[in-house]
Symmetry: C2
Subunit: 570 residues, 2 copies
């Protein structure tokens, strides 16, 4: 049907309309940038074979800059749906895209800093006209464009090849395009009615993920949720519903004292879920780990027996596939044996490590994952998908619905003309649900399963490179011995002044301050970012993680050089 | 610092580089669109004063189309960070933007359909080469662009002036630009460290919202959460923490039997929260309402007394400001009196109606909201902000932190160089948290407080227009009498064949099927969309809501004509 096609030929195609793309004014000049003639000369030189053309364009830009789009006299009210709003809307959006594409270019440019750090009070006081305060009266679109530039200027380039600060790094261009489209579609996952394509994409993608986990025919259930913490919360909720469905109606008082088990190295969201859902933090039993941060199965069994002896009811075990700090993989098969023996729900938190299932070389680290009842897997971490993209996958079909449905008549009408089993909203604890699937689906299309595999293998090779580089290097101590299981490389940098200090409290105290000091200097100089933290009785150490597809060995070398440059005189 | 500025002058400024914007091939031709020479002729005609220029551009496009960007030979791996990836990256993103801007134009074009409906099985079987299945091998960027077009083609235009199906409608251009920037920045709200600007914007915006609620100096706390259901869940969690903080540690068994109160017309998320958090559905007591859907305060007091007599402990009352179906505002002051008398937590669910606080004409409907302990307010509904944007606002400072903090050392290090009270992550039940603030902040800047006020007043005027149009019109029955409080207009359309039927079961049964039938035909013809549902003992009726800034009286007229056209022969 012609009317609903998204055909791009129109009377105002921006490629052909001299009012739009081709002749819009440079964002410089009358806004805030210094785009001098010298600058233009350099640009022209870089493409000398097309020099004449460019000069012509330059002239036309000059001509149209004044007459066509002076954003200082335009306001939000002049944009669509305003009468004659199409032209300023297109001009404005293209101007924003120009800001964004320039940001993207610089993000991948190693001569650009990762951040331009300012303290909260500095930004709150206002930086060179960047005023965060909201006002009663509208501001011009010119000011809005300046605000967009400033927002990016004072932010952090999480896609920069030298940004290693979080588990989610990198800027995938296909994923980004997917997000731009998602924002433009601006819809909601709760019903097929208003998100037909996205709902089906979610269904097919979740099935594919379940196949990769190893559940027969990819059967089961799942949802994309707003992050791994919520995915983990789902797992606890459905475990409770499976064994004590009456809690949904009667509350926790209808169940005995239930206990959950998770590693002392696991993500805090399991304990947070325990607190939120009414189990209580002290009924989340922390399991001991070996020196590599992996759960000791015998400790799990001992603690189950202990809980039962106290009259408590063990319900749920979380096995972490890729811990946050060490990147450790709990031994899922051993844990699954124990869960089967005691009839407990087994959840695998693969928020960080789930991506390794895509790699034939590394998926053995999640051996046994197919025995889990539920799995958290965040494509926004190791698979490089833009934030947010987290899946909760469940082996038993229908249990999410059973656990969460409230059958709201105004949303999930049973008398629609289509198959309403595609209305997924009532499975969720959310009502409206953001479309997180499209960017991921589009990346999968564009990279193929093999593309994700290559990405993951490459990141793990890079972390191996880092590990091999520093494991025997003077001034470095590894937090745990042996090659890391994931891309996490945990280490202390020992400044020269401390290298001959005897072990003891004084050394510990000094060492505890080294990583924060280096990190603070790193942020001030803006050259790179890497995380640090203490863990158990271990004082602050660096945790290096690699999930950015832009990172190379030279960036690893740079990080090490930078740590040594900044930490040498501490 | 020059290196971190987001200056747009670069060696590859898309305005000056003939390889990029100006000369990229039209998305038609070798992709899927029919952009004939006739079409081009028409376009040129439309801007005849610049005809020569355009012709030159047309020629150049021809020339470069073949040699420069054949997306069929380009893949995701050729984009940044690939060597020489900048040029294809820019070409690809501009091509995507072209698809999106064309979609935006058509969204506001009333000659375009709202949707092109297909059943799930049809889309799953594959529509003219639109294959939703994921594969192992990568697809070309040409195919990815086709997929983007098809995704929009088979979706629903939620910004179309005749889309009235949900509480969230409309496509705000500033908000959209904000989302594009947010995706490009791709960061996470949990720490100031990696989201300095966004964290401050959130803080200032929440303060402004609290001022508008009427809390002294805008003091208090809050967060943007992934939707109103989660915001409401927060309110229940913090109410419990306030009165029974030991539940966090010991679980619900440490508290007596707690009960929550909410209207039978309230959103299902309150009951869902009760079930999820371990209270149990049956401990969420539903309150009776008057014929307009407003809570009867005396019923609340009676039910509190009844619960106490049974030995239960009343904890929490939800007052809805703008119910989902009727748009009713519960009498907050009367409810607040009762909450004070019995020392209960008062939450106001203003997910839908909170926006009216921005209007001097309508904010009296939330009179007493300043007495609430917590408020849910979704700018993504009545204020036209793109999805998702929902705030939970709390009067008592520090209680969110107390309730939810787990103090994860690897994320919320106390020894950072900046004021770590700006690290907001530990207040949330999420770990990673999507940046929902920027689009809202940018819209506020661009429209001013007065712009939101105008938007809201306009939507309410439109609904008044609809109400006046149909209240005495033959073939219409209002579900409740009197002018609606919000933009919700609830009505039955009675086809001519039923107008003389006596009241009774047969008529009820037939009437119950009218709205679903009309809605199905509407979707098949794609002309408009409006919701329907039953409520209590009332059979299916239409619920019209207006939050779209593109809607005008002519669209309301169109809806009524369309209902009559489709329903006339039922």
């Amino acid at each position: 049907m012609a009317a609903s096609s998204s055909s791009s030929s129109s009377a105002c195609d921006p490629q052909l309309d001299p009012n739009t793309t081709n002749v819009r004014p440079p964002p410089s000049g009358f806004l805030q940038k210094n785009n001098s003639l010298d600058e233009k000369g350099r640009i022209v030189g870089a493409f000398s074979q097309k020099q004449q053309l460019v000069s012509e364009l330059g002239e036309r830009e000059q001509r149209f800059r004044r007459t066509e789009t002076d954003f200082s006299n335009l306001f939000a009210r002049d944009l669509l749906p305003a009468k004659n709003g199409e032209e300023p809307t297109m001009q404005f959006l293209l101007e924003v895209v120009d800001i964004l594409t320039n940001y993207i270019r610089k993000t991948f440019d190693r001569s650009t800093k990762v951040l331009d750090f300012h303290h909260p009070h500095q930004l709150l006081e206002g930086m060179e006209g960047f005023n965060l305060e909201l006002s009663d009266q509208p501001e011009s679109l010119e000011q809005i464009l300046v605000d967009c530039r400033d927002t990016l200027k004072y932010g952090v380039r999480t896609g920069h090849p030298r940004f290693f600060n979080q588990l989610s790094t990198g800027l995938d261009i296909i994923g980004l395009a997917g997000e731009w489209l998602t924002s433009t579609a601006n819809t909601n996952m709760f019903t097929y009615e208003i998100a037909p394509v996205f709902v089906l994409m979610e269904q097919l993608t979740l099935k594919k993920m379940r196949e990769i986990i190893g559940w027969p025919n990819g059967e089961g259930d799942g949802l994309f949720s707003p992050g791994g913490a919520i995915s983990n919360m789902y797992s606890v909720m459905i475990a409770r519903y499976k064994y004590f469905p009456e809690v949904k109606t009667k509350g926790m008082s209808a169940a005995p004292r239930l206990v959950l088990f998770t590693s002392e190295h696991s993500h805090y969201s399991i304990t947070k879920a325990g607190a939120a859902l009414g189990f209580g933090k002290e009924n989340v039993i922390l399991l001991s780990t070996d020196e590599r941060g992996r759960v000791i199965p015998a400790d799990l069994e001992a603690k189950i027996i202990d809980a039962k002896q106290k009259g408590y009811v063990p319900l749920f075990v979380n096995a972490t596939a890729g811990t946050t700090v060490y990147g450790a993989f709990d031994p899922i098969n051993d844990i699954a044996d124990i869960c089967e023996k005691y009839n407990l729900w087994l959840h695998v938190d693969g928020a960080w490590g789930g991506g390794l299932l895509m790699s034939r070389r590394h998926r053995h680290k999640l051996s046994g994952v197919e025995r889990a009842n539920s799995v958290t897997w965040n494509p926004h971490k190791m698979m490089g998908v833009p934030l947010q993209c987290s899946a909760i996958l469940v082996r038993e079909k229908g249990i999410l619905q059973g656990c969460n449905s409230m059958c709201a008549g105004y949303l999930f009408q049973p008398d629609k003309q289509y198959d309403v089993t595609y209305d997924t909203g009532d499975k969720a604890i959310q009502c409206g649900r953001h479309v997180d699937i499209f960017k991921f689906w589009l990346m999968w299309k564009a990279k193929g399963t093999v593309g994700f595999e290559q990405h993951i293998d490459r990141c793990l090779e890079l972390s191996e490179y880092l590990y091999n580089k520093i494991k025997n290097r003077p001034g470095y101590e590894m937090v745990f011995q042996g090659e890391p299981q994931h891309t996490n490389v945990c280490f202390w940098y020992i400044p020269p002044s401390m290298r001959n200090m005897p072990d003891g409290e004084e050394r510990r105290e000094r060492l505890h301050k080294v990583a924060p000091k280096i990190k603070a200097m790193m942020m001030e100089s803006g050259t790179t970012m890497v995380g640090y933290q203490p863990q158990g009785d271990k004082v602050n150490f660096f945790r290096m993680v690699i999930s950015n597809h832009a990172a190379t060995r030279s960036d690893i070398d740079f990080l090490i050089d930078e740590i040594e440059r900044l930490g040498h005189d501490l």
